[in-house]
Amino acid sequence: MPESIETLLADPRFIRWVIQGDDHSHWEAWMAGAPGRPALVEEARTLLRSLAIRESALSQEEIEGRVEAILRRLRDDAPDRAAAAGEAGRLIRLRRGWAGAAIVAAAIVAAAILVAAFWLARRPRSAASTADDGFATVSTGESRRSVTLPDGSQVVLYPTSSIRYATHPGAAVSVYLTGKAEFSVTVAPNRPFRVYTSDLVTTVLGTRFVVSGDKVTVITGKVSVSRNAGPDSVLTGVQVKPNQALVYEPLKRDFQKILVDTPVAVRPPVTPDFRYDNAPVTEVLEQLKATYDLDIVYDRDVLQHCKISADLSDESIYRKLDLICQALDARYTVTDGTVRIDARPCE
């Protein structure tokens, strides 16, 4: 087992764990194996942080555009004219064609952005607004600040946070966030709105939501959240609905959906007052699902004959579920933002 810091920092497995969280259980066990190891890992992290660099990266839209341009070019070239690599004449032709396209592309979309240092976010010390080559940056110090983006979306930037966005966005709106902000996005069917933080990419279509560090809370609408670990990771978009919050744990590289502490009714209830008189339980549960936009899983066959008479008004969703289960002599569990009801049949 490696013990020196040099060995560790030359071990690809260790590096992938420290940077991306791969193989976490293995390294967790390893750390517990000897008393000096956690401190060693801490030192390794500091040394790696000392190597932070600045690098330009391309937005997803820019990459997509370039990939498509290459594909088009590959399809256009007839196979019999395809030359082996290194044929000078063909190379020159390709290059000229590309240069023209590049100029046009650059005019439409701001291509390159500066990426902050290696997995650390910069924290501006005082409120500031700057603009440079097609991008604007807004930072807050002690107080909040409202920003209106070029597409009309509203952002409330919390203290000690900053956002960076293109002043002339193209097909999609991309916002780079460090810290915490609340977004109200205008609906636009073919225009994705994306918020990039160091760990997450949140893709939106017309909603209100809050992004803070590794946590995304949806207030209305729906967002899709994926890991921002560069294009070489498998992006799994997890859908987050209102009253759900998504917490990303970098070391586990997993999303954990949790129910927001106090879910609020997102739509007016179909049955006013939530007072039921001999109503089928399945109907009640469907109404709760619709009202609170929750996933409630239950066995329809089991509950098909169950009826309930109860006054569930003025109760929180949890209390409503408690009362229903009491009436049914059933129980409910919440896993990953989904409510599951285990009950026995009624006669």
């Binding site: 500091t46 790696l48 942080r49 000392s50 190597l51 997509e64 370039r66 990939v67 390709l94 290696f118």
Partner: protein, 188 residues
């Protein structure tokens, strides 16, 4: 498809358009990031990346399985960039140097490092030879295995380890000299 997926030789069949597009998407950013450390000419870099993919596409039937596309593509890009830069320069001179811009500012906040110490660290890092910077970059920022780095840079695998060790030692010395001993339990 993720970047771990090998390039296989059954791309002769229909539908490999989509597979190839996915491959390009998976690796484009990494190629762009690597390439910029050799040239700031965005059009040239875009050309080179296109050439690398075009070559791969044209030769896809002849290729046997490539187990790890990432180092393969990075190597191809480096070769291509060098060739084009040499041609433009019209002089058989020194090959383009690898540049790396270190960013120590966040350490000032994160580790309460005094500005003058941060500058000193920056100097230490800036003065590292280009070869060493490239090794650091490929290992920590492209996450290549030391053996893959050795192939890409045409040096011995042991040299890769040596360069990494030396880097670690230099940074450690810096922290010790800055009297930040409290941050470490100095383990051998």
């Amino acid at each position: 498809m993720n970047s771990e997926a090998p390039i296989s030789d059954d791309w002769g069949r229909a539908g490999d358009d989509a597979a190839f597009a996915a491959l390009m998407r998976d690796h484009y950013d990494a190629l762009y990031r690597y390439g910029q450390h050799f040239t700031q000419d965005d059009a040239l870099l875009a050309d080179c990346i296109q050439d690398v993919f075009a070559n791969l596409w044209l030769n896809r039937h002849k290729l046997s399985s490539i187990e790890h596309p990432r180092p393969y593509l990075l190597t191809a890009l480096k070769r291509r960039v060098f060739r084009l830069l040499e041609r433009d320069r019209k002089a058989a001179g020194a090959p383009p140097a690898f540049t790396l811009e270190f960013s120590v500012e966040d350490l000032i906040v994160e580790k309460q490092l005094a500005e003058e110490n941060a500058l000193k660290l920056r100097q230490v890092l800036d003065q590292l030879p280009a070869r060493q910077k490239e090794v650091i970059y490929l290992v920590y920022y492209q996450q290549l295995d030391p053996s893959e780095v050795a192939v890409l840079m045409n040096i011995h695998r042991q040299s890769v380890y040596n360069l990494l060790s030396e880097t670690i030692r230099k940074i450690r010395d810096f922290w010790v000299e800055s009297a930040m001993v409290v941050l470490f339990s100095l383990l051998a």
